[in-house]
Symmetry: C3
Subunit: 211 residues, 3 copies
């Protein structure tokens, strides 16, 4: 799988964990806002952080689920959520860091979901969808459980950033770019699109040619 | 499986696609109403159109999922949703057609889900449930994501039409009716019950013998 | 699996069914309150009673799902829901019994989910989570479908009672207590914690060391 350029799996894992931490934080904040207790906050954190990958693995029939064999996910989420609940009053200070972490998570989750799907030999369209699922279903489930309309479906650049990254990957693969470098580029594209969208307040419009 | 009467699989496929189009339209309309962006509308369309079959396949351990090997589903849904979003202002004119398509979808989805389950050698009760799941879970998930109380669970004849069709199938099978003809009858029963319910404003009551 | 003390599987099955009845009642009551029709109430009852076990089995890749091979679940739920809908006016009188049944269900569902997971050779943390999932996901899905914030995530002792039982089991297992007796103790711990929480109005706090 690796050619001239080696994209270290350990780096992707670290970025993945950063995304997990971001999701655990976002989940805990919303759950606290809704008045959930300690256990409820941890559960919503878990749904947010590993819900997308769980649904992806179940859809692709990959068993055991990724977090069942690597307990770091469950531990990192639980510890993050507990720390945040103890120091809740600090959360305004972490708001900007959260957006950064969240963008890292969006990129890392998309790359992992896309890559996992390609390894299962599905068609490229399905792989793109699995990247999107891994990246957004956790946040969707978090909002559904908390009785909110899912943020990721509203005028926010989430799904489209993930799709853009996958499409770039597929195009560059045609041009012969090796997988390791390509994953790195895909990560960068998604992260860049998301950060630019936040910076310049980009939104995907509703399309309506006529009125 | 086929006897004297041949119910063409291609016809069931066409009816299935009509149902998929109806679900994609219904999903897009609700998502637009909620202010979702283009990507969000497409995602809700997909949930509406293939969510029920996805949950059914996962419950019956059928992999790969039906839409992973036949990309027509994803393509038809995406194109339908995009066309609708572009010509959104026309939607009042399609309201009656939508109800017709929706009834076709209810019938086709029920027959497919029921048939798929019977092929997995489950008991008739489970097969009836899988027909219902395939027909209604997509719409339920759509409403849940959009933070609405599921329409199909309210005083609308959806679940009961699907069950009626399955029960008729099982009765006629006992009487020796061949599978092809029987599927056709099941389709007709569900479609007829749904259209009559709309026409004469039938509702399933709450039952309460005493007050 | 069994040593000096035999915990009869039939007793666990009976307690399981009591929990199923409690879930069917709770699901039907909420669904009626939301104005769902007969079929909608039955569906919400099913989601409440077998939703958690279904998600657990799908996550652990156990097929066929537990209720597909033992139709008693579907039958008991349907009959319970129908009886309740017919005699709805009596429901105030059953409120206390429902809390008792609900606590029995919490204990039985937790033990079954935990035990099933251990048989799949997952790590203890995952087994604890599967106990929790089996016990609470049904109620969460019920509330999500009915557009309510999940009760089990709020300041109620549900998740923590289930975890407490599993932790006691794991500790006693280290001390050499045989599985049969241990399951019985786990059941008792969860049931006792839940009932004491109701009796003395215990709540899990939000933790916030500083303000």
């Amino acid at each position: 799988m690796l050619g001239a350029f080696l994209f270290p799996d350990i780096l992707l894992y670290v970025l993945d964990m950063i995304g997990v931490v971001a999701c655990a934080i976002a989940g805990t904040l919303l759950a606290q806002h809704k008045g959930f207790d300690i256990a409820g906050c941890i559960l919503v954190s878990m749904v947010n952080a590993i819900g997308g990958g769980t649904i992806r693995d179940m859809a692709l029939d990959r068993h055991p689920l990724f977090w069942m064999t690597d307990l770091n996910y469950v531990i990192v989420i639980t510890v993050t959520s507990l720390i945040l609940q103890i120091f809740f009053h600090l959360y305004h200070k972490i708001d900007n860091a959260l957006k950064l972490f969240d963008a890292i998570g969006l990129a890392a989750f998309s790359v992992i979901g896309f890559k996992v799907a390609l390894h299962q030999d599905v068609s490229p369209i399905v792989a793109i969808m699995m990247g999107v699922w891994t990246a957004i279903i956790g946040g969707m489930l978090r909002d559904i459980i908390c009785n909110e309309i899912p943020l990721v479906l509203q005028r926010e650049i989430y799904i489209s950033a993930s799709i853009a990254g996958s499409v770039v990957y597929l195009l560059l693969e045609r041009l012969g770019v090796n997988a390791g470098l390509n994953e790195f580029i895909m990560l960068g594209v998604i992260f860049a699109v998301r950060m630019l969208a936040l910076r310049f307040d980009w939104h995907l419009p509703s399309i309506r040619l006529v009125d």
